[in-house]
């Protein structure tokens, strides 16, 4: 089984260092009120984690699909934007 990290390693990115394009509006909603943390399961790039009762998000490998934004329909706790123009994933094939 190929790990998601190995898959992402094949992709080309222009990472906008220290300027994540996705932000969590209120982490306490994820940590305390959200029962499912569906983002951690459904994100195809594995950007989201939930460990020791704490939500985590690293957007470097983001494929810009919008899944985390759409799947968080109950709490609407994802502040989702495209990366700054020219940054983010650069599909070679698409």
């Amino acid at each position: 089984m190929m790990k998601v990290e190995e898959k992402l390693y094949q992709n080309r990115y222009r990472v906008d260092a220290d300027r994540p394009h996705i932000r969590i509006k209120d982490e306490s909603v994820c940590n305390e009120r959200c029962q499912t943390q569906s983002c951690t399961v459904c994100c195809p790039a594995g950007c989201w984690s939930f460990e020791d009762g704490k939500i985590g998000l690293i957007t470097d490998g983001c494929l810009e699909c919008g899944t985390c934004r759409v799947v968080c329909d109950q709490h609407k706790n994802v502040d989702w934007n495209y990366p700054r123009a020219g940054f983010g994933i650069l599909f070679k094939f698409g």
Binding site: M1, M2, K3, V4, K7, L8, Q10, N11, R14, T36, S38, V41, C42, P44, A45, G46, L63, E64, C65, G66, T67, R69, V70, V71, D73, W80, N81, Y82, R84, A85, G86, G88, I89, L90, F91, K92, F93, G94
Partner: protein, 438 residues
Amino acid sequence: MTQQAKEKFDVIVVGAGPAGNAAAYTLAKAGKKVLQLERGEYPGSKNVQGAILYANALEKIIPDFRDSAPLERHVVEQRMWLMEKDSHLGTHFRSDQYNQQPGNRYSIIRARFDKWFSDQVQKAGALVVCEMTVTELLRDGSGRVIGVNVDRENGQIYADAVVLADGVNSLVASRAGLRQDIKPGAVALAVKEVIFLPKDTIEARFNLKGSEGVVIEMLGAITEGMVGTGFLYTNKDSVSVGIGCMLSDMKAQRTTPAELLEKLKAHPSVAPLIAGGETREYAAHLIPEGGYDALPPQLYGDGWLLVGDSAGFVNAVHREGSNLAMTSGRLAAETLIELSAAGQPASAANLARYKQKLDDSFVMKDLKKYRKVPETLDRQRQFVSDYPALFNQAAYNFFSVDGRDKQSKEKEIIGAFRERRSLLGLLGDAYRLWRATR
């Protein structure tokens, strides 16, 4: 940008995918002053598709596209596989007629194809600006859309009309309140790998010569009970392998899409086809598969039109999207060209003509025809789970020679169907399938 900020365009097209390119090209060809804005480094760098190109929709825009477009393979064979865990029952349709010019369907690589399409748009006279993200729509006091704001200082750009081709997430349209935001039950999440193999190996494995290609669509155990499909398309020296399921199902079943794709790649019917290949890209994309009932209530308004994925134009049953995108982009452009020729403004009342054109085309006709499919599949999971399994078991039973008599086998097969679905259930399913697709 300051110079552009002072200019006013006839039309601003947001996004350089198939819908946006179709609109921008058609408008520019008619002599309109068009500005097309794309957030990616180059057109295609943010775009994802399977990808199969349906020639007809593009022919209507660029009749001689075959002379210069980067096409991978022309499709001569369509395979439909009902999948069980360790088997598949398939139908193959292969026709030498598909070797006649002009070709009907082609596999494409979107990053290359979109770049080519954008070149044609620019040659037609449109101004295409990449690495520029539209952040919001500009409106006047009456609410009429009069331009866009981009992520630059003094980023206001004005136009008589804005064509929103900004894709499935359509942040611009949603944030402006022109459409409701998408819901997990109305989108499929698809993941895909492009796996490279020598050209000869592809031709030997798929029984192809020259630029012939194969399409395989898969339904059944691979989606683990979720509504969705898998696919494998042959490109020149690579294959595209992917799987997509409704996001609401992935959420409910807590399925990790990357793992689902790994399982598909390891399926005994798929693994030998991609063995030894090298994955060079992994992509994910949402597909608006909610169908007719999930369309935005308004597809146009004062100064704006929605086209392509931003409008939800996907026929999930037939795996068609880019052709609906290109057609809707073209129809939006033609509407604006006609209005301009008649000296009429792009008001909501006048743009009703766009909706009329959509209604008269296959875009709306097909969406209406399959209106009940998303709901039927969502409620009647037997179509994606029980039936593929039953048909595979029946085939296994029927084709295995094991000393048992044929009548007993027939009884077993019929018994399995009746046990799983009951006689009434089988009849009901036939009716439901007919009603959903009539």
